[in-house]
Symmetry: D2
Subunit: 342 residues, 4 copies
């Protein structure tokens, strides 16, 4: 059976990451993330993202990270604005509402939202005390549709947030894929300035597990460790994540892995286009392609793709490349595509 | 500097565990714990603990596991009974109350509580609707004081719980150390019968991270995966924990590691007794010893012990052995003790 | 200044209600709703709504009642379906999400939703465990737009709920206005059968305060008193509400008051139509009329109307009649309308 | 049957309160507590309690008021210190924990706690991030045992709170009874200075229902109206409470009613002492008397007393006088006591 393109978290970890864990396997470390590896990793990340005075917290997963940041920032009478396609709105089994916070949705434009949409949405609430108060904007970059934000788009949202007293939080579960996209113009160092908090996803980019939450706004960082523990999210062996992020950021491995997945995805997109396959615009490692139903089901069966949207006669399905996708995998897929053209 | 005896989660993982991760590093697995490793690990655990019809869920840490089980079982007008020294009551930054559940405390007897205490406590509530309703008993085994429950003690608590319509939940962060203690008479296979749920701690017994929550009561297991996700605790790479527990239970490694820590602790206790050092009764890998203040501070500095209780002139401090503690480490400590006698 | 038409809760209470309170002012009653008045009132309500085996709970307000019923019925990974215009979605400062439950919205059709919409919405979730699980349908009758459900519409929603394992809850803040509308065909006695729970609003129909929550489904009624207390909603002097509902239902006063407000509203609507004023379809005591902006502002100023929707050139504003609205009030309004025609 | 001494909320309301409601029954008021009566009542209360810059919020009941203030002030990793006998700890069906906040208990001394106890308790936490952080002190005055705090005791607790960065909140469900006790030395005007918030109980002192929460600390008052609505506690007819408090504070009625209940209680205590009945020290309207079991049960049956503590052979039971207790009621009780002496 050919290699699957189901998602970017079906393979355990990049060998370099596991090697780093092996190297430190018998040393003794401070528990709860107070160890030297976590400190080093935090420093690398602050350097990489232009956030010298930020605080970095290592957490186990993406939904947890979203839940923790949002529940730290908001009161229960406040809400978070998100694209209707936002991960928090669709794919987290109501973790945000389950913790007590309303999500205010805006219709997405290819997975994205604009500063103007945010401004209009907030205006519609008219500061009415019987309505929830919009208090945060949540976006993901790259988005759930594989699209990315330009630096100026982020700067505009940032500007509206400052004007309207909204926190700005960027879900970076696939931040690597955004920043290494061939279409990206966002400088990593801008992230330390443009938002109150963002996270650098490890799980979907070659780590065994772990996300690095970077909080630029000291008001949100205050007491955050207690908040983590209170939500059951503090890892005793925090250094297990620290070691991984140290390895990922010491020499740029993090960006290499993301870049590689993007390059592989670009090859697939190029091939698909040549075969006349209809694909959505996505400059990152997620590819949304539309086929006749029968074909689509064959792809799903052969490559483990997820069904994305059912149009009746046709289906849109998702292919995802990962840090372990290799050219032969891509070629196999393209040969399949070539021989199943219709 | 000598090896520290601070706790049993300062070392990353046993080499066998890391080896297992390496071996599966490039294979593709189903995400979210639906993989073959997690299934195998679950089966090993159900076999080991006499729980053929239980459901097993792999989670990242102990506080999270406690929080998840308790919040699944109780309504907000119900409470959980615990020893006042219980981990949930003392050392989890109010994670249980933070999720909305009152802890009803009982004075501990060497870290333990009795069936009789539970019965009296419940009676004191008199089923008054203006008071919280006791609905669960939580114990840890081994306890926070290193003590263990006999099988008959557990059976008695189990009996009271059935009689009074209480769930019975056993925190097994250090279950291995309890079951391999030289004083233990509890059959692992009894755990599948005596309680509604228990967990098998990995973090404190040689795993990189991870706890296996075993739910015997199908009412509590219902919809548990949605509950996990809703609390932000579902790991995308669930197989990262599955692989570890598979390795730990395939050939009894889990019990070997715990046994070893206990044996090392027994050597220390024997030595301490010979030197006339005052220690609390604990048949597992935690040793609580009392010294003159000056001595105690020296131990803390040299071996990383935690201060347990301040008696003024004297301090009780805690030594913990781990799966990586070796005889030379013990000898070093005992030599130190020998040369610092007073 | 003329009488205001701002809403139906600007006047304290109908004289009969206050008289009943006076009559019982010095007698001693059981606290917490266990008194004889509350029992009698509950029986009257069960009789009136064909719910002989229901349980009735008296609460202080509508948002509280919605919050209590929903938080009793759902788990945090479950959600409640509502029209986007639903009171819980728009006008309760995120009380439902603040308690931990996602609201799943459906586009309203004149304030209403259909069984078919519900069925399609639920299907779109595909029982995916990473998404919230729809578990309840919430509607209001009369709706936030003054419209009402026919008995067959409710029966259809009820059928879909049974089929899809959804609870069905009807917000009756203005139930009286629905049931006494000239267009109504819903028998009060159907409410005891068609839904799991509904409430009979007192605050908006002549009571000092208070809502009667009727729970038909015994699973939801179980432990409800403890739930009320736990949410801070149990009134020590529960009989204060019981006495009012006893007075309201002993001789049909409840329906008389609602009917009167409807009749007054019908007069206004008739007059507005004669003057060519554009009004939305609403067969109850809320009237939504659209005027040139300048006119609208004059009405708002003179009659205390709420701005409902801003169309730019024109504004839609709301007039509400109450149990104390009298014909002279209506005439005054219509004279004003007559003299401000354009 | 003789008049019952069960509690102070078994009678609806004082005639003056109901009269005030009647007088305003047909006027139109702003909803949601923004009316002129609520404003006036707030001003009277601020004047009475020396709190010119406080904000006053009218709520429906005591548990709700406690829940609202505490949930506004604390984060979930913070806890509230209370006497073990505190109402929030014992008699609110876990409303505070149900909302997500741990209660840290201190052994009561006749229902009270001291500044020294608070200081020692806080020190025991050692600012450990794995433990809950004490962040508030809650007391009730008069206490659940009918005792009262002196002004200097409150000033000491206030001082410790300021020193240790704790909020200080006083539950005044029976504040009237404390302030009008013959043993009281606390000036009402001190309450505006000595604490961050307190409430003035109406339900237990002659109002139909309602409590006035006075927030001295602007940080806690911020956004409090949204918080009220979010918790389902905002009354549409807020003026229903405003009118009552206006009547209660316009001419000192509030204190008169409390005083009267105290005077009646003093008569009972005097009589009991003469008869050699053993009573606990309580200078307010609650009387805790201990009788042989048989006698106690007779009192319970005849006067509706609550059983307070079961000592085996003897029982302690509670008598409560109210704003409607009259001398003949007292005489009847004392005659009964006289004829049942043993």
């Amino acid at each position: 059976m050919g290699k699957r393109f189901r998602n970017d978290y079906c393979e355990l970890a990049h060998p370099f990451i596991l090697k780093a864990l092996m190297e430190h396997s018998s040393e003794q470390n401070e528990a709860y993330g107070l160890d030297v590896h976590s400190r080093k990793a935090a420093q690398y990340i602050k350097d990489a993202f232009g956030a010298p005075s930020a605080e970095v917290f290592f957490l186990a997963g993406g939904t947890q990270t979203n839940l923790l940041l949002i529940s730290k920032a908001l009161r229960h009478f406040e809400g978070v604005i998100s694209a209707d396609t936002g991960h928090i709105n669709v794919h987290e089994t109501a973790a945000v509402e389950g913790s007590g916070y309303k999500i205010i949705t805006i219709p997405n434009i290819n997975g994205k939202i604009t500063a103007k949409q945010v401004e209009e949405k907030v205006a519609s609430f008219n500061d009415d005390e019987h309505m929830v108060r919009p208090r945060m904007v949540y976006i993901s970059n790259s988005t759930e549709l594989g699209t990315i934000y330009t630096e100026s788009e982020l700067a505009e949202i940032c500007g509206v947030c400052k004007k309207l007293n909204l926190y700005f939080f960027i879900d970076g579960a696939r931040l690597g894929s955004a920043l290494t996209s061939s279409e990206n113009d966002l400088k990593p160092s801008a992230l330390g300035k443009l938002c109150d908090a963002f996270y650098v996803g490890g799980t979907k980019n070659g780590l065994l597990f772990g996300e690095a939450l970077v909080i630029n706004n000291p008001e949100l960082a205050k007491d955050f460790r207690r908040h983590i523990k209170n939500k059951g999210a503090m890892l005793a062996k925090g250094y297990a994540v620290g070691i991984q992020f140290e390895a990922a950021f010491e020499n740029g491995l993090y960006f290499e892995l993301a870049k590689k997945a993007n390059v592989m995805a670009d090859l697939i997109k190029k091939g698909f286009k040549e075969f006349g396959i209809d694909i959505l615009p996505s400059p990152t490692n997620q590819i949304f392609a539309t086929f006749e139903k029968e074909s689509a089901l064959l792809y799903i069966k052969t490559f483990g793709c997820e069904l994305w949207e059912d149009h009746g006669e046709k289906l849109t399905i998702r292919f995802v490349t990962s840090f372990l996708t290799e050219e032969p995998d891509v070629n196999e897929l393209l040969e399949f595509a070539s021989s199943h053209r219709k």
